[in-house]
């Protein structure tokens, strides 16, 4: 074959790769420190991981100030404003998860050093995902973020529930990536290239091939598992309940965001020409995900399972703009990015409160929240803010995310968009019911077991609460903050 040309070294833009390299360096550093100092180094691990995540934000800031779009490896890896906004979001979510993990992992007698190494590795995969514009790099980034997460879910080695969580997450995750790969192989077969730009051209030219429909659907179904969209959500509640709570927060926020980021690029860059396939697919799947997630959430008695189903329903809301991807692309991307940013803070905040309360009550049942206001007023107020945000009540942040959805649907117009808007509205009302079921006993009922000792909030948890609370309120009161990032990311995602 004459295509086997001599190998030439691709030119590397070290500045563009600096965030990934910093993260990799800190992950390696933690392993080396662990090997040299062993148990004596345990105390410093969370600090080191936190410094690593904050240090990675520095090159992201310098790249953002620089502002030029950098493309490497024949367009397979692109650093633009869209990817920088999402990289920063992943790193900040990761930092909050590290804050949540400090006491939980230390007191639970878990392996500490490996925990933080794997978390940084998984975050590296997410950071890479936001720059990937090629089937191979999307696949590698997806596996790099998933494989450590399988291990984290099963981190409580002796606990049967954690084992089961790991098994279910692993089997569903690997099965989904096999289905996704089969779809990718078909898409590659039609386009003859793995780069998104070329795929978009090839899918757009020529007659409509049924194999293309099959390939696109398989790829989208693979990612539907990742973002736990109904009917591919069955792993999520079990995995969330069984996994250690900080890991659950990590999966519910960072891992889901990564799946959404991959979907944004696949749908808006590679597959947008086949809107006859993607728009009905996402219409159906987002309507199902919202409705089923909310209805099952109504009858949950465990707070983590409730948040799991609420997370599934929130994922359904995030999928709504994809249903108008071709009709109003700019508004749709903006809506998804804004939703992801707000969702990250309000959901991480809710999980932080769950962690803080569980340190005293040792229970995940909703009943154990009765009378929380009487002995932990601060936590009760914080939980109220986060749940109000998730429900979409102003002034907490969530309303602006929902507003973005409606704006995208209105811009698209037409009967189908209007019908989806009605479904969103109905689901928002259903969601009030189960968030209120947590809030009412917290404020108005007496303490169930009469134990009114106050809850001691540790420094790390307090910091996590402060950050998430401030961000959630700031996004609600000054939506321009997050709106700006949304607009910036749209320009670069569609301009490329």
């Amino acid at each position: 074959m004459d295509v086997l040309l001599a190998f030439t070294r691709p030119s590397l833009d070290w500045h563009a790769l600096a965030p990934e390299l910093t993260l990799l360096a800190f992950g390696t550093l933690i392993t080396i420190v662990d090997i040299i100092w062993d148990d004596r180094s345990k105390q410093t691990m969370p600090t080191l991981a936190g410094i690593g995540l904050l240090a990675t934000l520095v090159p992201i800031l310098t790249l953002a100030v620089d502002g030029t779009e950098r493309s490497m490896f024949g367009g397979a890896y692109v650093v633009d404003d869209f990817s920088l906004v999402l990289k920063a979001l992943f790193l900040i979510s990761g930092y909050i998860v590290v804050l949540m993990s400090v006491d939980y992992i230390r007191e639970g007698d878990y392996y500490e050093n490996e925990y933080y190494t794997l978390m940084l590795t998984s975050l590296l995969g997410m950071v890479m995902m936001s720059s990937s514009r090629d089937l191979v790099s999307v696949f590698v980034a997806l596996e790099l973020l998933s494989i450590p997460a399988y291990m984290l879910a099963a981190w409580r080695k002796g606990g049967p529930r954690s084992n089961e969580a790991g098994l279910k997450y692993y089997l569903m995750g690997v099965f989904a990536s096999a289905v996704m790969l089969y779809g990718m192989s078909l898409v590659y077969g039609l386009a003859g290239s793995t780069t998104f730009d070329v795929i978009a051209q090839e899918l757009g030219s020529g007659s409509s091939n049924p194999v293309a429909v099959l390939g696109i659907l398989f790829v989208l179904i693979g990612f539907a598992f990742k973002v736990s969209a109904v009917p591919f959500h069955t792993w999520a509640p079990d995995t969330y309940e069984g996994a250690p709570t900080p890991v659950t927060a990590f999966l519910a926020v960072a891992s889901k965001t990564a799946g959404m980021v991959a979907l944004i690029q696949l749908v808006f860059v590679a597959f947008l020409v086949r809107d006859d396939v993607i728009q009905p697919f996402f219409w159906l799947i987002s309507a199902l995900t919202m409705t089923v997630g909310n209805l099952i959430a109504l009858r949950q008695t465990n707070i983590v399972r409730l948040l799991a189903y609420s997370g599934i329903a929130q994922g359904g809301f995030m999928l709504v703009p994809f249903a108008v991807a071709a009709d109003a692309p700019a508004r749709a991307i903006e809506a998804v990015v804004i939703y992801l940013a707000i969702y990250a803070f309000m959901n991480l905040g809710a999980f932080t409160v769950v962690l803080a309360v569980a340190r005293k009550t040792r229970s995940g049942e909703i009943d154990s929240y009765s009378g929380l206001f009487q002995y932990a007023p601060g936590l009760a107020v914080a939980m109220t803010v986060f749940l109000a945000a998730l429900a979409g009540i102003p002034p907490a942040g969530g309303w602006f995310a929902k507003f973005g959805l409606f704006r995208a649907l209105l811009d698209a117009g037409g009967g189908w968009a209007a019908a989806l808007g009605v479904i969103v509205a109905i689901n928002t009302v259903i969601a009030f019911a189960y968030y209120a079921r947590v809030l009412m006993p917290m404020w108005f009922q007496p303490v169930t077991d009469g134990d009114e000792r106050p809850i001691v909030v540790t420094g790390a948890l307090g910091a996590a609460l402060t950050v998430t609370l401030l961000a959630t309120m700031a996004f609600g009161v000054l939506p321009g903050l997050v709106g700006h990032f949304g607009e910036v990311s749209v320009l670069s995602a569609l301009g490329g």
Partner: protein, 99 residues
């Protein structure tokens, strides 16, 4: 070139793999079924690469092989962990959480 025959082989292997994942209860057999699915993908990628006359398909297949090895490593570790705690690798035995 025998494009169709290779694609049919790939589709058949993929279908066998999906059947294995859904029907088998033994954890190790489920892992092997997933490997079948991934190998079906590899056949597709290599055949399409040859048909288009570009090497990117073969390179993609190499990536899939490498990542599949890592995946199975983690999978076997999880199955081993389950066997230690429960002395069973029947995936249907693990149903502590429902609803």
């Amino acid at each position: 070139m025998l494009l169709n025959q290779f694609l049919i082989l790939g589709a058949f292997l993929f279908a066998v793999g999906v059947y294995g994942v859904l029907a088998r209860r033994n954890g190790v057999m489920v892992l092997m079924s997933i490997e079948l699915m991934l190998n079906a993908v590899n056949i597709n990628l290599v055949v399409f690469g040859v048909q288009h006359g570009v090497v990117s398909g073969q390179v993609f297949a190499l990536f899939v092989i490498a990542v599949a090895a890592a995946e199975v490593g983690v999978g076997l570790a999880i199955v081993l962990l389950l066997y230690r705690n429960r002395t069973s690798i029947d995936v249907e035995d693990f149903d502590l959480m429902r609803g």
